[in-house]
């Protein structure tokens, strides 16, 4: 056989095919992450007045930055705020998305195509634009909804969650709706023959089949809420109630670009990444059995 000669190319082929992926992964994921870790271990050290050439140099500080990031009360207060915000967004947004998807999927709804587009449309509005638009609606002297204090400390979380719900429901609805359309109609016929009402079909047939899609949208939404940045940043100039460290990512931005401390920003980024990983994988693990029919 020509095996001996042909063996070498055959064993190289997989690597060749993998090369583009590996190169892209290395350049755009591994290297930036590595650089972030590197930055997180360093800090600028100034001598004297810090003016003039050579008066500042970068030094290795070990885990100092990470320690400072983990023990920063403001960061944890930020997590707490985001948690409250995230709970509202997840429950309301996914609840509405599911409701709309089920309604659109039921045979009786009129103007289905129009409704689908109308619900999806806000997703096409960029987050900054949506936040500013809602911001103008929230401002006491400009709002047509008079008498309500949308930006007061107690209402702020709801007002902000409202922007996210408005923008995100359409996308999640579409994901769930397309999954619903993929379910064979015969299931429903069988259910109907057994005497199930539309409501019973929705609760007992559609929703159980939708669970994997629901989990997918849930994971996406968890990650998105943990990374909330646009809405509070765009609303901040309007009000006294949003601090520069309202959400963890805002603190990263502040450190990197407002106070010029890339090193702390890198350390905080790592903490955020770790927490996001733990929460999203934790959630996946929690529901794995149900979602993908896996059993231990």
């Amino acid at each position: 056989m020509a095996g001996a000669r042909g063996g070498a190319p055959r064993s190289a082929a997989p690597y060749l095919f993998l090369t583009p992926a590996i190169v892209l992964f290395t350049l755009f994921l591994a290297v930036p992450i590595g650089y972030t870790v590197y930055l997180a271990l360093r800090r600028t050290r100034v001598s004297g007045l810090g003016l003039g050439r050579g008066s500042r140099r970068e030094v290795f500080v070990g885990l100092d930055n990470l320690r400072a990031a983990v023990t920063d009360g403001e960061l944890w207060a930020g997590w707490l705020r985001v948690l409250g915000y995230g709970l509202i967004v997840l429950v309301v947004m996914l609840g509405l998305a599911l409701l709309f998807a089920l309604l659109l999927d039921s045979a009786h709804v009129r103007l289905a195509r129009f409704s689908r587009i109308a619900i999806f449309l806000p997703y096409a509005v960029p987050g900054v634009v949506a936040s500013l638009m809602w911001g103008f609606l929230y401002l006491p002297s400009l709002t047509p909804l008079g008498g309500l204090e949308f930006l007061s400390p107690s209402a702020l979380t709801y007002s902000m969650a409202n922007v996210a719900v408005w923008g995100g429901t359409g996308f999640n609805m579409l994901v769930l709706y397309t999954n619903l359309r993929a379910i064979p109609r015969s299931y429903y016929e069988a259910a109907r023959m057994d005497g199930a009402s539309e409501l019973a079909i929705a609760l007992r047939v559609k929703i159980p089949i939708l669970v994997p899609a629901l989990i997918l949208t849930m994971v996406f939404s968890i990650i998105a809420t943990l990374q909330v940045f646009t809405e509070p940043t765009a609303l901040r100039p309007f009000t006294n109630t949003i601090s520069s460290t309202w959400s963890p990512l805002m603190k990263v931005y502040r450190d990197a670009f407002v106070t010029g401390d890339l090193y702390s920003a890198a350390a905080t980024s790592l903490v955020i990444a770790a927490i996001s990983l733990v929460l999203s994988f934790g959630f996946l693990r929690l529901v794995r059995g149900r979602a993908f029919g896996e059993s231990r």
Binding site: L16, F17, T19, P20, V23, L24, L27, R43, T44, R45, V46, S47, G48, L49, G50, L51, G52, R53, S55, R56, F136, L139, P140, S141, L142, P153, P237, F238, T239, N240, T241, I242, S243, S244, T245, R254, F257, V258, T259, G260, D261, L262
Partner: protein, 438 residues
């Protein structure tokens, strides 16, 4: 298909490698570039600025100087522009010239992002007041930028509504407080003015008027005095008025505030000489109704003002065409033609002493109500005092916003917020290793 994709990836990788090589090279090459090297052929300079119509001004220069061509790159301005420049400098691709607000210049210097142009600018030093020159030297032997404009503060007020509510222009802050009470009592929807927790530059100017020295250099050490008596006095004054409820607490430049200025529910604004542009666009209905006066004083008979804003033109440390860059910056800020263009096209209040001559007609917004606007500005400007800005103004200004936002929410004393600003600033400087005097 497969080869296509592979080739694409390969091309991409090469491109990236080339890009990385380029950036790694420039910082190393830059410091060795001598100031006097006059390259053959025309040089091209990039200039980051947000002054309006600067491209038109550069076009005039480019016409007359075919060997030094300036390309203006319009920036957003404010703190974001400073952050962007620092980031670009760190990445090794800073522009040749940059508009540097006085408060941000020390951060640029500390980051080694701007060049020392003392040798090239010795001739133009006499054109600027000592106070302004100090802002670009930080009191050292070096010169880091050429002053462009300054922002002496004054009180803008609604002439017609002051008459309506029967208040006279306050001469002291005590009278200002009285007027605030009178106005708000007459109509609870109306305020004399607003305290803005989003404008640290505004507060810094008021502190300067009161005689504050937030930073100073003594020998080889920084001294930080943000919570000095003068600043605390200013903070508690506004805190008292806000707590009394006779002064609004809407941040400036918000849609709410614009509306209040426009519909006459806010009657005055302690601002800077660049105020007319803001009023014209944000309160168009007030045209011909606003007038200016010196800021109220802390002690009757005194005559002081502070600075809010104002900027300079700096040459970046990595510019390969430093001599040409300084030449343009000098022309722009000290040549009669340059100053004239700055006034007429960019609407700035020039820093150069020669600038007063270029100021003729009052801003259209004030043509009826304050025809001697520029004379007023000049008198007030000569009474303005500033202070040295420190190397971490970004930290201090951010602390201002957060601390005063919190004070407004919690209704806690404003002097505590000033304390927070001081503590945050000192902690940041200590963390970085600056030598602090105490």
């Amino acid at each position: 298909m497969r080869t296509h994709r592979l080739a694409l990836a390969a091309a991409f990788a090469t491109l990236l490698a080339a890009g990385c090589g380029g950036t790694a090279e420039s910082p190393a090459a830059a410091p060795s570039a001598p100031a006097s090297s006059a390259p053959a052929g025309p040089v091209t300079l990039t200039y980051w600025t947000w002054a309006p119509n600067m491209d038109k001004i550069a076009a005039v220069w480019n016409q007359a100087n075919p060997d030094i061509q300036v390309t203006v790159s319009k920036q957003a301005g404010g703190d974001d522009a400073a952050a962007k420049f620092l980031t670009a400098a760190k990445a090794g691709n800073a522009p040749d010239l940059v508009q540097a607000e006085y408060q941000h210049l020390p951060s640029f210097i500390a980051a080694d992002a701007v060049a020392d142009i003392a040798a090239e600018t010795a001739a133009v030093k006499p054109e600027f007041s000592e106070g302004l020159w100090g802002l670009v030297t930080l009191g050292t032997e070096s010169v880091y930028a050429i002053p462009q404009d300054s922002g002496p503060m004054m009180l803008y007020y609604r002439k017609d509504l002051f008459e309506k509510y029967g208040i006279s222009v306050p001469k002291t802050w005590e009278e200002y407080a009285e007027a605030a009470r009178t106005v708000h009592k007459a109509d609870p929807k109306v305020y004399l003015g607003s305290f803005s927790s989003k404008d640290p530059g505004w507060f810094a100017g008021l502190a300067q008027q009161a005689g504050a020295q937030w930073w100073s250099i003594s020998g080889d050490a920084w001294k930080v005095g943000i919570n000095d008596a003068a600043t605390t006095k200013v903070a508690d004054f506004w805190g008292g008025l806000v707590q009394e409820g006779v002064i609004d607490d809407q941040p400036y430049f918000t849609p709410e505030w614009n509306k209040a200025l426009n519909d006459g529910t806010q009657l005055s604004w302690p601002s800077a000489v660049w105020g007319p542009g803001v009023l014209e666009s944000n309160a168009p209905k007030g045209k011909g109704k606003w007038a200016v006066a010196p800021l109220p004083q802390w002690n009757a008979g005194e005559n002081f003002s502070g600075f809010w804003g104002g900027s300079s033109t700096a040459v970046s440390a990595t510019s390969k065409n430093r001599a040409a860059a300084v030449k343009f910056a000098t022309w722009l800020n000290t040549d009669p033609q340059g100053i004239d263009l700055l006034v007429k096209e960019a609407f700035v209040y020039p820093a150069s002493g020669k600038g007063q001559a270029a100021l003729g007609e009052p801003p259209a917004y004030f043509a009826e109500s304050q025809p001697d606007f520029w004379q007023q500005a000049a008198t007030i400007g000569s009474s303005a005092r500033g202070f040295t800005f420190g190397p971490n103004v970004g930290v201090t200004y951010n602390a201002y916003k957060d601390a005063f936002d919190k004070a407004l929410q919690d209704k806690s004393p404003f002097s505590a917020s000033v304390g927070t600003m001081q503590d945050t600033t000192v902690a940041d400087m200590q963390k970085s290793g600056f030598t602090l005097a105490q």
